[in-house]
């Protein structure tokens, strides 16, 4: 499926904003991404599998709050980095 990444993660993907990854749920896709781009997952999900405070996930435009959210081929996962403060 198509995964859209925010600019803070471009250093992991050599500048690619859009990558392909597969998995039965969001967690699987993140593990697949981490295998290809080592270290990426820990920057957006902590060691207790909680999504970091300034990161948001959307599947087909719908906000996702748990990594267990099921995915189907053809879905689109968008990872958004939303910063606050100066």
């Amino acid at each position: 499926m198509r995964v859209l990444l925010p600019s803070p993660l471009f250093s992991y993907t050599s500048g690619q904003r859009e990558v392909e990854a597969h998995g039965a749920c969001v967690a699987d896709v993140l593990h697949a991404l981490d295998a290809r781009y080592p270290g990426l997952r820990h920057r957006i999900v902590d060691e207790q599998d909680r999504i970091r405070p300034h990161i948001r996930f959307f599947v087909n435009g719908e906000a996702v709050t748990t990594l267990g959210r099921a995915l189907a081929e053809g879905d689109e996962l968008i990872i958004v980095a939303a910063l606050s403060g100066g």
Binding site: P6, P8, G39, H42, D46, Q48, R52, A81
Partner: protein, 377 residues
């Protein structure tokens, strides 16, 4: 006897918006900047492994992204991320802790090349045995001591932090740490077990005067030539302890009353255990945490805290409302000793005459969190 002086020194600077390397010449008067590295990253600490003179570790995160450690094996020219940064073990508890920031990095004993320690926010202690590539929990602290003291170290809005990891140069297994808040703790078995070491330290924010722990050391130091000599700059004053004693003495009482003895950093003279510098800040009423009266000054003692001398030649005489964070004041090993610090307003100041006079060698940097002097190979 003077310590061998490296031909050149560099300043490793961590800021709220990235890292900078200032490379000095043999006079320590001319500095060229390299950076920013990792522009936009919060860099809490940037440290050289003095055991090899070339390995640097950097504790970093960004506003969006979680914490990690970057390594350089070529004195800062290229960087690689740790394969497994410090992280707590996975737990089923929904409130299980996760590392928010790596706050402190410390090479271990000289006899243990590639061993490093890291302190985190929230308080956690981690060890790497491969030069910072992978990190594991020091379970004697994270799973041993911490659960028994957590009621005194949690619930701080910006997070409690573990800092000042001090390794006894005479015994690799003998370690001191500071928890802010939490207090000073000591291990004689490489972190397997810990004992509090806070007797005599005031803690006016605790309900009891005789609490064993829960204090707030801002910086803890151990003298390399006399490791029985400890100093700490605490939230409640400046203290000295000579082991095997266990009772800290508030040597900050000898500071001028109008200045007080509150601050973050404390720097020792590497060749003189009786010589220490502090950089006081305003800790009155609402704790402005700026230079007292807007008049910055370092204070030095030459007699282990019996008396203090103000050192402010070169600093602004008024309306300078900055201060110096706990990792942002350091010394080189030259003779005379060079002193360096970074300010919350993004300036770097240097003294090449042991604090007698100061000059600003860099300005307009982001808020500075750490400065360390390094003899890069």
């Amino acid at each position: 006897m003077p310590v061998t002086v490296a031909s050149t020194w560099s300043l490793l600077i961590g800021t709220r918006k990235g890292a900078f390397l200032y490379r000095g010449d043999t006079t320590r008067s001319n500095w060229s900047v390299e950076g920013p590295h990792f522009l936009g990253s919060v860099v809490n600490h940037l440290v050289l492994d003095a055991r090899d003179g070339r390995t640097l570790l950097m504790a970093a995160k960004t506003g969006h992204l979680g914490p990690t450690v970057f390594r350089s094996l070529d004195a800062g020219r290229t960087w690689v991320e740790a394969k497994r940064p410090p992280m707590f073990k996975k737990a089923s508890d929904p409130d299980a802790r996760a590392v928010d920031s790596v706050f402190w990095l410390a090479p271990a004993h000289a006899s243990q090349p590639d061993v490093w320690y890291a302190g985190t926010v929230p308080v956690g202690l981690f060890r790497s045995t491969d030069g910072g590539v992978t990190w594991d929990e020091v379970t004697g602290f994270n799973g041993g001591l911490f659960p028994s003291i957590k009621h005194r170290v949690e619930n701080i809005p910006d997070g409690s932090l573990l800092h000042s990891i001090c390794i006894d140069p005479q015994d690799a297994r003998h370690i001191y740490i500071g928890l802010s808040t939490g207090g000073v703790f000591e291990s004689g078995d490489a972190g397997a077990s810990w004992q509090p070491l806070n007797r005599g330290v005031e803690a006016n924010f605790l309900p009891r005067d005789d609490a064993e722990f829960g204090h707030d050391p801002h910086t803890l130091t151990l003298h390399p030539l006399r490791p029985s000599r400890l100093y700490q700059q605490n939230h409640c004053g400046i203290y000295r302890l000579d082991r095997p004693g266990v009772e800290w003495r508030r040597i900050g009482r000898a500071m001028p009353k109008e200045v007080g003895d509150i601050g973050f950093p404390l720097v020792m003279h590497p060749r003189d255990p009786d010589c220490v510098w502090v950089f006081p800040m305003d800790g009155t009423e609402v704790w402005p945490r700026v230079s007292p009266g807007g008049k910055p000054a370092a204070y030095r003692t030459l007699d282990a805290g019996e008396t203090w001398q103000r050192q402010d030649r070169g600093f602004p005489r008024e309306q300078a409302w900055w201060t110096v964070k706990r990792q942002a004041f350091c010394a080189d090993a030259c003779d005379p000793l060079g002193l360096y610090f970074g300010t919350t307003s993004g300036e770097v100041w240097a003294s090449l005459d042991e604090g007698e006079s100061w000059s600003c060698i860099a300005a307009h940097l982001p808020h500075i969190y750490s400065v360390s002097a390094a003899a890069l190979a």
